[in-house]
């Protein structure tokens, strides 16, 4: 099971590396957003800590959707989704593999965006690096699980990209809110109880959405 999961992830990463269809546009969009915010944020410097967290997570969400949209669209192009359905592997494993690939894509995006926000927006994201890493991972998992499930649902439709963002945004609001608040709290001198509560809430959303994704995946991919 673990080996098959790995081979599915490996196949998607190799395909993306060679085709370069989703990641470049995702990284470019994220970088443009960070640089634009960086240029505009100076007059608002007194609210920098408050707004940079929200801006960061909105940038991660919208740029990330560009990559997540491709996760099932690529499978449908040559009918290979049918092929995946006919392997003796559980549908949960297929979902988990896609989730992992999307989480890796979002991780790469965060690895570019967070330093850009620190440098260009002077965002206080490096005050508690380990806690920030935890928030980034939990937010990543929450967005990736919502996006993966809905990508399976919308990949067979026309204008799947805009459909995905439209459907995913309302569902991802709890994740975005908790991630933004937790990121905002981490800008302070120390991590207070309020901050931990947001992180716990973020963790709970990430776990709930991942489990819901696994359970609902079979229905979402049905033609």
């Amino acid at each position: 099971m673990v080996a098959k999961l790995w081979w599915m992830i490996h196949k998607d990463l190799v395909s993306e590396w060679r085709a370069r269809r989703a990641w470049p546009s995702m990284l470019l969009f994220g970088t443009v957003v960070a640089l634009t915010f960086g240029a505009q944020i100076e007059p608002l410097s007194q609210w920098k800590a408050q707004i940079s967290g929200s801006l960061l997570w909105l940038a991660i969400f919208f740029a990330g959707m560009l990559a997540i949209d491709r996760s099932f669209a690529a499978e449908r192009e040559e009918g290979s989704m049918d092929g995946l359905s006919l392997y003796p592997i559980s549908s949960e494993a297929v979902f988990l593999a896609k989730l992992a690939v999307n989480a890796i894509a979002l991780g790469a995006l965060q690895a570019v965006l967070i330093p850009l926000f620190i440098v260009f927006c002077d965002a206080p994201l490096a005050a508690h690096p380990w806690a920030m890493l935890l928030v980034a991972m939990l937010g990543n998992l929450g967005i990736a699980s919502v996006g993966t499930l809905l990508s399976a649902l919308t990949s067979g439709t026309r204008h799947s990209g805009s459909m995905l963002a439209l459907l995913a945004l309302p569902l991802a609001i709890p994740v975005l809110l908790a991630a933004s608040k937790a990121t905002q709290c981490l800008g302070g001198a120390q991590i207070d109880a309020d901050c931990w509560r947001w992180m716990q809430l973020l963790g709970a959303f990430a776990v709930v959405f991942s489990i819901a994704g696994m359970l609902l995946f079979d229905f979402a991919r049905e033609d």
Binding site: W7, G79, S80, D82, L86, P88, S90, S91, D223
Partner: protein, 236 residues
Amino acid sequence: MDDRTIAIEARGLCRSFGGRIVLRPIDLAIPAGQTVALTGANGAGKTTLLRILSGLNRPTAGKVFWFGQPAATNSPACRELGVVMHESQIYPHLTVHENLLFSARMHGVSEPRRQIHRWLESVGLERQRDCLAAKLSRGMRQRLALARALLHDPRVLLWDEPFSGLDRENAIWLRELLGKLRDAGKTVCFSTHDADFARNCADRALHLHGGRLQEHEMAMAEPIIASVGSSRARAA
């Protein structure tokens, strides 16, 4: 006849899209080792029936069984099935070898590299081993799709329109391959709109018309309407 010797069975299969009925109640039994051609005009529902038989689509009503077990995607029973649909189901940005290796790993094929080498030779793609699948011609893609479907040595092959878009050379090769599969005792069900191919390549022909299946007498040009369900008894 024991249920195990019926490779594919459909009971009361119906399928409609919105208000349009594509398949009316269909009872079908394909004994193991038989080569069956599914004929019919464009839009008759051949692909729909094959997709339902392969478990890829759910019927509106009725059930499908593979060797007596309920058909289900992503189940261990999928090992018994090789499916080639109109779309090649291959990954264009993986090489020919990588495509087959991925499939072998998903099916848990033992000695995957040896099996891949054997199938690359069989379908004549040894020289394209390291080519990206995206660069292959339509005929080569079809050969790769076939190798992918047969790599795990399934007992049943479901094949949608194997002869469509193939040149004469590829069509001859395909006909020979169907003969080899029959000799190897595989159960094959393929769709075609060409009655001549059906007559030349299959043990039995089924004609889809108006959502109903009619049994073709192989020697005759016109279909003889019969209850297809009764073919099970005949096969026994």
